[in-house]
C-alpha cells in the first residue's frame, strides 16, 4: 500500500494525551508504529505553529486529531481542509491556544503546504484531565487505525 505513494508522506497525530480523548492523535500514531513502512509517523503533541514547520517537509499528510464535529461520541470521519470551516474560537492566539485549520491555512498561504492533506478526526466523548481515553474511544481503536490506513490509500488519488 504505502510504497506506491510518491514523494514524502507523513501521519501526524495532534493532541494532548493528558486530556483524555484530546490525545487520540498521539495514541493512534503510537498504535501505528512499525506498521507503515516508508511513512513518517509524527506525534506532534499539541501542534500549534510547529505544524506549519512540519507540513513544509511533506508532499502528502494524514493529520489525526480530535474534533467537535457534531457527530456521535467516538465517531470518526475523514475529510479534506476544504470540506470544513473552523468554528473554533482561538481566544488568546497564544501557542497554547492554536487552531489546526488555521495552521493549514497559514501553510497554504505561505506556499509550503503538502499537495494532499486529509484530516482523520474523532469526535471526543471526554476532554478532561486524565491519561486514559474514554471507553467509547478505546472501543473504536481498531476502526480508527483502519480508517487512517484507508485515508493513506486515498492520498494516492
Amino acid at each position: 500500500m504505502t510504497e506506491v505513494i510518491a514523494g514524502k508522506t507523513a501521519i501526524i497525530g495532534i493532541g494532548n494525551p493528558m486530556m483524555a480523548d484530546d490525545g487520540i492523535g498521539p495514541r493512534l500514531v503510537a498504535e501505528l508504529e512499525g506498521s507503515c513502512p516508508g511513512i513518517d509517523l509524527i506525534d506532534l503533541g499539541t501542534g500549534g505553529m510547529q505544524l506549519v514547520h512540519v507540513l513544509a517537509r511533506y508532499d502528502s499528510v494524514v493529520i489525526i486529531d480530535s474534533a467537535d464535529m457534531g457527530l456521535e461520541r467516538g465517531e470518526c470521519c475523514v475529510f479534506s481542509p476544504e470540506e470544513v470551516v473552523s468554528l473554533k474560537k482561538t481566544r488568546t492566539y497564544s501557542l497554547h491556544d492554536w487552531d489546526l485549520m488555521r495552521s493549514i491555512e497559514i501553510s497554504r498561504n505561505l506556499g509550503e503546504a503538502p499537495d494532499r492533506i486529509l484530516i482523520c478526526a474523532v469526535q471526543p466523548a471526554s476532554v478532561e484531565m486524565r491519561e486514559e481515553l474514554s471507553a467509547e474511544l478505546q472501543k473504536g481503536m481498531a476502526m480508527y487505525t483502519a480508517t487512517v490506513r484507508r485515508a493513506l490509500e486515498a492520498l494516492e488519488y
Partner: protein
C-alpha cells in the same frame, strides 16, 4: 472631558497563559488599574521533593514548554553544584549553544507571532500572512532555523533529551556543526531585514518611560546567558548564592503568582534588562542590529523589550557561530564528568528568554532532593507590569476606550509573560 471608563480584559490574548487587566477611571482620574494573574499554582517544588537527583532535570524542564532548555540547564547546574560536579569546557560551549537556540526560538516567536500584529495594526499573525507574506516567511524561516538548532544540540525542539548531568548523552558531529554554521551565516541578512522592518514600525511603540531597577546575569567577557553573577543596575554585582536577597518574594491579593522586589518596589528582568546591563558585551552583529533599531542603553521604555529581543537574536546567531568555531577547532570529544552522590545544596542562575531563572536544590546523602526552590522570570516581572500600568494609566484617561485597552495589552505583551499551559481540540462544521 474624559469619559468614565471601566475595562476588564479577561484572559489577555497573545500571551502564554491567563492574566486579566482591570482599568477604571472616573472624571478623568484613574480609580483602579491592575494586572491579575489567575493561573493555579503548579507545585513543582513539592513534586521533586523526595525524588532522586537524576529526576530533577526531566521533571523541572516541564515547567515550561518554551523555556524547557533553560529550565534543564538551570536544573543541571544546580544539581551539579550540589554534588560538586565540574563539567568540561566543551560541555559549557554546547550548553551555551543550546541556550542560544532556545533564545532565538522564543524571541522570534514573540516578535513575529505575538507582537508584530500590534505593530502592523492587525488582530493576529493570521491576517499578516496575507498582508505581509514576505515578512512572515522570513520570521517562519528564522523560527525553523532555531528549531533545527535545538533539534541538533538537544535531541528535539522542546523538552531536550541530550542534556544530562555532567555532559551530553549525544553530541553533534563536526559536519553537523559545520552545516549549522553555514545556516546561521545565511540567516544574518534575513535578521537584518527583519530588524529593518521592526525599525520601520517603531513609531507604533508608545512613548512611555519608567526608570526602574534592571536585574540579569553579568560576566566580565560575555553577554551573560548561561552563567555569571547577578547584576543590578541599582546595586551592582551579587553572588548567585544570595539570590533570595534579590528576589524577596511576597504575595499580593490580586495574583496567584508571587511578586518580587529588591531595591525599589519592582524590578525588570528579560531582554531589556540584559541589554541595559550588558550592551557593551554584544557581538559586532548584535551591536549593528541595535543601531538599526536605534537602541542605546539605558532604555527605560518597557515596550522596547521586544526590540531588545531582536538584538539578542542577532547576538545569539553571531555568538553561536563563534562557539561552533571553537568546538570545531578543538574537535568534539563528547566529554562527560563523573557524577558521585553526596549531600549538598546547589544554586544556579541561567538567563532564559524572559529573564533570570533560579533553581535551588538540597540533596541528601543518598541522592534524594529534600528541598527545592525555582523562581521563574515571569513572576519577577509581575510587580514591574503592575507599576508600569500605574505609571502609564493617568496618561490614558483622555483616550478612547479601545486605545486604552490596546496600550495596556501591548504593555503586558512586551514583557512576553509565560503563565501556563492548556488543551486544544479542533471544532469544525461541514460545508
Amino acid at each position: 472631558m474624559a469619559m468614565d471608563v471601566g475595562i476588564h480584559i479577561e484572559h489577555l490574548t497573545r500571551v502564554e497563559g491567563h492574566g486579566d487587566i482591570f482599568f477604571n477611571s472616573k472624571e478623568g482620574k484613574v480609580e483602579k488599574v491592575q494586572w491579575h494573574v489567575t493561573e493555579a499554582p503548579r507545585f513543582f517544588e513539592a513534586m521533586v521533593r523526595g525524588k532522586s537527583y537524576v529526576h530533577l532535570q526531566p521533571i523541572t524542564s516541564r515547567i515550561c514548554g518554551i523555556c524547557s532548555i533553560g529550565h534543564s540547564l538551570a536544573s543541571l547546574k544546580a544539581t551539579e553544584a550540589a554534588l560538586g560536579v565540574q563539567v568540561s569546557e566543551e560541555t559549557v560551549l554546547l550548553r551555551r549553544l543550546a541556550l542560544h537556540g532556545e533564545n532565538m526560538q522564543s524571541h522570534i516567536l514573540h516578535i513575529g507571532y505575538l507582537v508584530a500584529p500590534d505593530l502592523f495594526g492587525v488582530g493576529s499573525v493570521f491576517p499578516m500572512v496575507a498582508t505581509h507574506k514576505d515578512a512572515v516567511l522570513k520570521i517562519v524561516g528564522l523560527h525553523r532555523l532555531a528549531n533545527f538548532m535545538s533539534d541538533l544540540v538537544c535531541g528535539r525542539t522542546t523538552h531536550p533529551i541530550t542534556l544530562r548531568l555532567g555532559g551530553f548523552s549525544k553530541v553533534p558531529a563536526d559536519r553537523e556543526l559545520t552545516d549549522l554554521k553555514s545556516r546561521l551565516e545565511a540567516a544574518k541578512p534575513v535578521i537584518s531585514e527583519v530588524a529593518g522592518l521592526l525599525a520601520s514600525v517603531k513609531g507604533g511603540i508608545p512613548d512611555f518611560n519608567r526608570e526602574t531597577e534592571y536585574v540579569g546575569l553579568v560576566d566580565d567577557k560575555l553577554y551573560a546567558l548561561y552563567d555569571g553573577a547577578i547584576g543590578s543596575t541599582d546595586t551592582g554585582e551579587h553572588p548567585v548564592n544570595f539570590y533570595k536577597s534579590i528576589t524577596n518574594e511576597y504575595v499580593v491579593p490580586q495574583s496567584t503568582a508571587k511578586y518580587t522586589k529588591h531595591s525599589r518596589d519592582s524590578y525588570f528582568v528579560g531582554a531589556l534588562a540584559r541589554f541595559n546591563l550588558n550592551e557593551s558585551k554584544l557581538s559586532d552583529f548584535g551591536r549593528e542590529t541595535a543601531e538599526v533599531l536605534g537602541m542605546k542603553a539605558p532604555i527605560h521604555n518597557p515596550f522596547m523589550n521586544t526590540y531588545a529581543q531582536m538584538v539578542e537574536v542577532a547576538d545569539s546567531v553571531q555568538d553561536s557561530i563563534h562557539i561552533i568555531d571553537e568546538l570545531l577547532a578543538c574537535g568534539i570529544k563528547g566529554d562527560k564528568a563523573e557524577v558521585k552522590v553526596k549531600a549538598g545544596r546547589g544554586i544556579s542562575a541561567v538567563e532564559v528568554p524572559r529573564g533570570i531563572l533560579f533553581h535551588d536544590y538540597t540533596i541528601d546523602s543518598i541522592g534524594n532532593c529534600t528541598k527545592a526552590n525555582c523562581i521563574i522570570p515571569t513572576n519577577q516581572n509581575h510587580a514591574s507590569i503592575q507599576q508600569d500600568m500605574e505609571a502609564i494609566g493617568p496618561s490614558l484617561v483622555e483616550r478612547p476606550e479601545k486605545d486604552i485597552e490596546l496600550t495596556l495589552e501591548m504593555l503586558v505583551r512586551a514583557y512576553d509573560p509565560c503563565i501556563s499551559c492548556s488543551t486544544h481540540y479542533a471544532k469544525v462544521h461541514f460545508v
